[in-house]
């Protein structure tokens, strides 16, 4: 039996265990451990797993993850999302579909302090949905705009997925964050365009709100929104400028958001404790998947499956963009069944060598696959964000939410195509980082 064949068997066992509901991290660790023991030796496998566990958990690099999650949780507990939405509402509410547009804007703002899609969707759902109901918005448009808007959480920095991708492929997290920024803004713009077009065709879906005087708009900036944006600029600026390590950016960000919420008297002891406890839970969830992926990848590397695959693909002599199309297809299908982080961790070691061999830029490749897995969070059957919104809007049927998401999927197709064929959108900003 060739080594690559054992690798394929390993992948099949992995899929079987996953479909039996063994948690993603456990599954990867299990298959990786026993596969490694089979390929090398029992003792070698056991020692490898123990070392991998200590190395991942006690890692300065990975300490960035709990810190950025904490920053997002503090912002959540302090009701920053409410402030962002209020501001966007004042500025954009008078437009056609203005509240849905405000939702997308506020989602982009919240994504700037929060690294997760589901958290962004959950918090904006609670804030924006009641408002859109009050103004008699179409339920499909209302829920669709929150689900889609929330998906920007993993592209606009900080992003847990980009952190993990960066550590796995040894790319600079600062550059990846910079690379996600313009594609994230482009996504927000495309979503806003989508809403305008829908509401132009059928104005009843998103009625206009009252136009507010400029003074009131200006007043809406303070008390949360402007301060949050200043924190974003400080934290990401420090990271881009090379003054902070990513971990320091996370630590400073969390401390600043905590300080801001204390100053605004929006954080009590209970909110503080809840933020900490959700952070440790989320961090444990992420790190167990990371650990599983590390162990699994040690096994997969020994089978040389990724390299065999890379050589085979290069030997096919297909145009690189066609290969990229196939990879994207795998992510689209995979994203329908698996959560984004698990999918990226599982597939990056397999596809990354292919991408490098075909001469693609590693930063660009990371942004593309992150962008594509984002689509998975709003498509059936396992669109995480859709279920999160369903949890907030219990009376709206799932089919209505999926219907509401459909026009945004078209915007997603446009943005993936643009990213694919105009790499400068992604690579211009990171090219300015010189350290």
């Amino acid at each position: 039996m060739s080594a690559a064949f054992i690798g394929i068997i390993g992948l099949l066992v992995l899929l079987l265990l996953l479909s039996m509901r063994l948690p993603v991290g456990y599954t990867m660790a299990f298959v990786g451990l026993f596969g490694f023991m089979y390929m090398v030796s029992a003792k070698g496998g056991l020692t490898m797993a123990a070392r991998a566990c200590w190395d991942q958990f006690a890692s300065y690099n990975f300490s960035v993850i709990p810190l950025f999650i904490l920053m997002g949780q503090f912002a959540f507990s302090a009701g920053i999302s409410q402030r962002l939405y209020d501001t966007a509402h004042r500025w954009l509410g008078h437009m056609r579909g203005g509240l849905a547009i405000a939702t997308v804007g506020a989602c982009a703002g919240f994504a700037a302090v929060c690294g997760s899609s589901t958290a962004t969707a959950a918090t904006m759902g609670m804030v924006a949905l009641p408002e859109m109901r009050r103004y008699d918005y179409d339920p499909a448009l209302a829920t669709g705009s929150i689900a889609a808007g929330g998906s920007m959480g993993i592209l606009i920095p900080p992003s847990v997925i980009l952190i993990v991708y960066g550590i796995m492929t040894e790319q600079s997290i600062g550059k990846l964050f910079a690379a996600g920024f313009i594609p994230g803004l482009m996504e927000a713009t495309l979503y806003i365009l989508t809403i305008s077009i829908i509401c132009k065709i059928n104005p009843k879906l998103g009625p206009r709100g009252p136009r507010l005087p400029f003074k009131s708009k200006l007043a809406g900036l303070w008390g949360g929104t402007a301060e949050t944006m200043v924190i974003f600029v400080l934290v990401l600026g420090g990271l881009f400028g090379g003054w902070f390590t990513p971990t320091e950016a996370g630590g400073v960000g969390a401390a600043l958001v905590l300080g801001l919420s204390l100053a605004m008297r929006r954080m009590d002891w209970q909110g503080f404790v809840e933020s900490i406890s959700s952070t440790t839970r989320t961090a444990a969830m992420i790190l167990i998947i990371v650990l599983g992926a590390v162990i699994f990848n040690k096994f997969i590397a020994i089978t040389r499956l990724p390299f065999t695959l890379a050589e085979w693909v290069v030997g096919l002599d297909m145009p690189p963009m066609a290969v990229m199309g196939l990879i994207i297809f795998v992510y689209l299908i995979g994203g329908c069944f698996m959560d984004a982080l698990g999918l990226i961790l599982l597939t990056v070691p397999i596809f990354f060598p292919v991408a490098v061999k075909l001469g693609f830029d590693p930063i660009w490749f990371g942004i593309i696959i992150t962008r594509v897995t984002e689509i998975g969070v709003i498509t059936p059957p396992v669109g995480m964000n859709v279920y999160v919104i369903k949890g907030v809007a219990r009376d709206v049927p799932l089919s209505t939410i999926f219907k509401g998401v459909t026009p945004f999927l078209m915007a997603d197709v446009v943005s993936v195509v643009l990213l694919l064929f105009v790499p400068q959108i992604t690579l211009w900003l990171p090219s300015l980082i010189t350290y």
Partner: protein
């Protein structure tokens, strides 16, 4: 209260207490990391920030694992299994919890061995010369608790399997 409920309650209590330690480590990490940025700007870096952060991260993660599992926080694919009949689902749950318990007992045992090894070699961190092994024991303990949570799941799914 049945025996299973009692065991579950005890494990839930212990993992919740561990999670509190994880939270303290997390806050300490935030204070240390951001404090270091400030102190460095006006004076000089706090000694050993790098390695202490890594130790605190290890405690944050390992001590939160069991509590996360207790709350079903670890991501799994529920899509296929949800449609199966109840009995079959309970049967699959038995297998899954056996695999989980087995995996993390092995991991806890191996990490303990690693800690004993590191104690023997007396390895310490670079600048502060803090020994590694107590923290490695901590990680092993967190993994053991995670295995216990899987064992509780095993008991629960077994009772469901044999329920009429």
């Amino acid at each position: 209260m049945t025996v299973i409920e009692r065991v579950e309650k005890a494990v839930a209590w212990a993992s919740q207490k561990l999670d509190v330690i994880a939270g303290v480590a997390l806050v300490a990490m935030m204070v240390l990391v951001s404090g270091n940025v400030v102190v460095r700007a006006v004076w000089e870096p706090i000694m050993g920030t790098y390695e202490v952060t890594a130790f605190l991260a290890a405690m944050t993660i390992s001590f939160a694992l069991a509590h996360c599992a207790m709350n079903k926080g670890h991501i799994a694919l529920t899509l296929f299994v949800d449609r199966l009949p109840r009995r079959l689902r309970a049967f699959l749950d038995v297998i899954v919890s056996v695999l989980g318990a087995l995996l993390f007992m092995i991991m806890a045992w191996q990490v303990t061995k690693y800690a004993v090894h590191m104690k023997g070699t007396g390895e310490v961190s670079l600048t502060m010369e803090i020994p590694f092994y107590p923290f490695i024991f901590g990680v092993a303990f967190g993994l053991l608790m995670l295995a216990l949570v899987s064992l509780v799941d095993l008991l629960k799914s077994l009772s469901r399997l044999f329920q009429k």
